[in-house]
């Protein structure tokens, strides 16, 4: 099973990545949103090991009292890791907007909340001179299970090449509390939501399908032959295709011989 990882080595690579990338861009501190869930806890643990706990700030950004248990978990992670935390209630700014533009659509409300959290993170990034650490994993990047310009926005993304099940394994190695590793993952778009319910698949099954499609380059028929339900495989492939826009910068209409994104091609770490 190639979803297996050596978490000791993965920790080595990712802590070096965090240190290196921050140093290149002149940062000593990292900042991230702490939700009390697995991904942000693992990212915070990596950052604490890479930069030292005092150089990591976790922002806990609940909507009112709707996520009290999550806030307690986030605070617990912050305490265990010894990193700084700060709790900011996003209800006033979210409510102000929806008072003027009412909706009962939970997805609209959830996306708005994700983007409010993003705007607070970027503001605090500038205030604290801290680079934003993304917490998106490979599973959600591939199926597009994230809010564009919301939780998908970051300065660097240490965990974007780890499937959810691999993040869980890394979490165990990093001594993330078992209660956090075990609890049902949620995007926190509304209270009581769980990812697996919304996606309609367990992360275990989803990751096995993604592994076959992405790592092994298997086709739909090959997956069906291997025993995966064709309808499920089709749905996963559609999720991947339909979310490509979330993984790219928007296309630029080409006019000149040398255009940004087309033939003006420089490395991200240019001169660093």
């Amino acid at each position: 099973m190639s979803l297996k990882i050596n978490p000791v080595f993965v920790e080595k690579v990712l802590t070096r990545f965090i240190c290196d990338e921050l140093a290149k861009f002149g940062f000593r501190k990292g900042i991230l949103g702490l939700s009390g869930g697995l991904d942000s806890s693992v990212c915070a643990a990596l950052a604490a090991r890479a930069l030292g706990p005092r150089n990591v700030l976790g922002l806990i950004m609940p909507y009112g009292d709707a996520f009290a248990a999550e806030v307690r978990d986030a605070e617990k992670v912050g305490r265990i890791l010894g990193i700084g935390t700060r709790t900011i209630d996003i209800a006033p700014q979210v409510d102000a907007y929806f008072a003027a533009h009412p909706t009962r659509n939970r997805v609209l409300r959830g996306n708005k909340m994700a983007r409010e959290r993003m705007s607070i993170l970027y503001d605090y990034s500038a205030r604290e001179k801290a680079l934003i650490l993304g917490t998106s994993n490979k599973t959600e990047l591939l199926i597009g299970y994230g809010t564009i310009h919301g939780d998908m926005a970051s300065g660097i993304n240490p965990m974007g090449d780890l499937y959810k099940t691999q993040v869980r394994e890394l979490g165990r190695h990093l001594a993330i509390p078992a209660s956090i590793i075990r609890k049902a993952p949620t995007a926190g778009l509304w209270s009581g939501q769980t990812d697996e319910q919304e996606i309609g698949l367990s992360y275990g099954e989803l990751d096995r399908i993604l592994e076959n499609i992405v790592e092994k380059r298997k086709s739909g028929p090959e997956l069906a032959k291997a025993g995966f339900k064709p309808g499920t495989v089709r749905r996963v492939m559609e999720m991947i295709r339909n979310s490509e826009f979330k993984r790219k910068l928007p296309p630029i209409a080409k006019l000149s011989p040398r255009s940004v994104g087309h033939d003006f091609l420089y490395p991200y770490d240019w001169g660093r």
Partner: protein
């Protein structure tokens, strides 16, 4: 003789800074009485250059920065990786390696096999070298390859058939695969192939890889040296910078070739004829 592998992390696109690093490492090599110091692929420029290639390319014969390395190689041999643009071929950028000894450039190898697939984009930006050859050095005949060159095993064969006593591969190999032990899974491939070539060629085999991270990609490190016939002489750390120095007993080549007679019994003429037929048939 003493060989040193400089497992460094160059700064991407900053020749000035990297030149300083090279001169520092060369001074250290001198202090540690090394005779030869080997830098990794594109050590003067960093690897992920894309459109920076033209900005950092230089002519080793005339560039004053490169001249500093050449000038400070008195009593020392140096293998350095750089982006080459010669006066004779303006606008063509080669991923090159120079062997410099005692103030003179003995040989420049231009990378022949430019990986251009998936994460690799070399042929999109660089011109392709067209030759593998051995050249005499103070330590016997040496053959140079750059990273992917080595993964095409005909290249090693040409250097072996040409009489190489030492095969040097400089590399900027990104690590991939984290299911295994204390290194990227791809490191194992280089080690296995290096060991195998040290048997096939009964020559010394030195692999200088870089470390550091560019655009999220970690270079794997783990530079190593094999003596003729599969003797692991040294291996550097994975992921971290290191300056690896080892004494080589050059008589080991003779010793290996009197024990394993592959070199004596080699038939490059038959190989060539057979290859020519293979190429002809493929073209038909």
């Amino acid at each position: 003789m003493k060989i040193a592998l400089a497992q460094i992390a160059p700064r991407l696109g900053d020749v000035g800074r990297n030149l300083e690093l090279h001169l520092e490492v060369m001074a250290r090599a001198r202090r540690e009485k090394a005779d030869l110091v080997v830098f990794p692929e594109l050590s003067l420029t960093g690897y992920t250059l894309k459109d920076l290639a033209g900005d950092v390319a230089l002519d080793p014969a005339t560039d004053p920065r490169f001249g500093k390395i050449t000038a400070r190689s008195r009593g020392l041999s140096v293998v350095v990786g750089f982006m080459e643009e010669s006066a004779a071929e303006q606008g063509l950028f080669y991923n090159s390696a120079a062997f410099i000894a005692d103030g003179k450039i003995l040989h420049v190898h231009r990378k022949v096999f430019l990986p251009t697939n998936g994460m690799f984009e070399e042929a999109k930006f660089y011109a392709q070298g067209r030759d593998f050859r051995v050249f005499p050095t103070p330590f016997g005949k040496v053959g140079l390859m750059i990273c992917r060159d080595f993964l095409h095993y005909g290249a090693s064969y040409v250097l072996y058939a040409g009489g190489a006593d030492m095969i040097i591969v400089i590399s900027a190999a990104p690590g991939r695969g984290v299911a295994g032990g204390e290194a990227f899974e791809t490191s194992r491939m280089w080690e296995l192939m290096g060991e195998a070539v040290s048997y096939f060629s009964t020559a010394f085999f030195a692999y200088a890889n870089r470390v550091g991270i560019e655009d999220g990609v970690s270079f794997a490190g783990g530079s190593f040296i094999y003596g003729p016939g599969g003797h692991l002489l040294a291996r550097a750390a994975y992921l971290d910078s290191e300056f690896l120095v080892r004494r080589l007993d050059l008589t080991a080549v003779r010793e290996a070739r009197t024990r394993w007679l592959f070199k004596r019994d080699e038939k490059p003429d038959i190989i060539l004829r057979s290859l020519e037929r293979v190429v002809r048939v493929a073209e038909d």
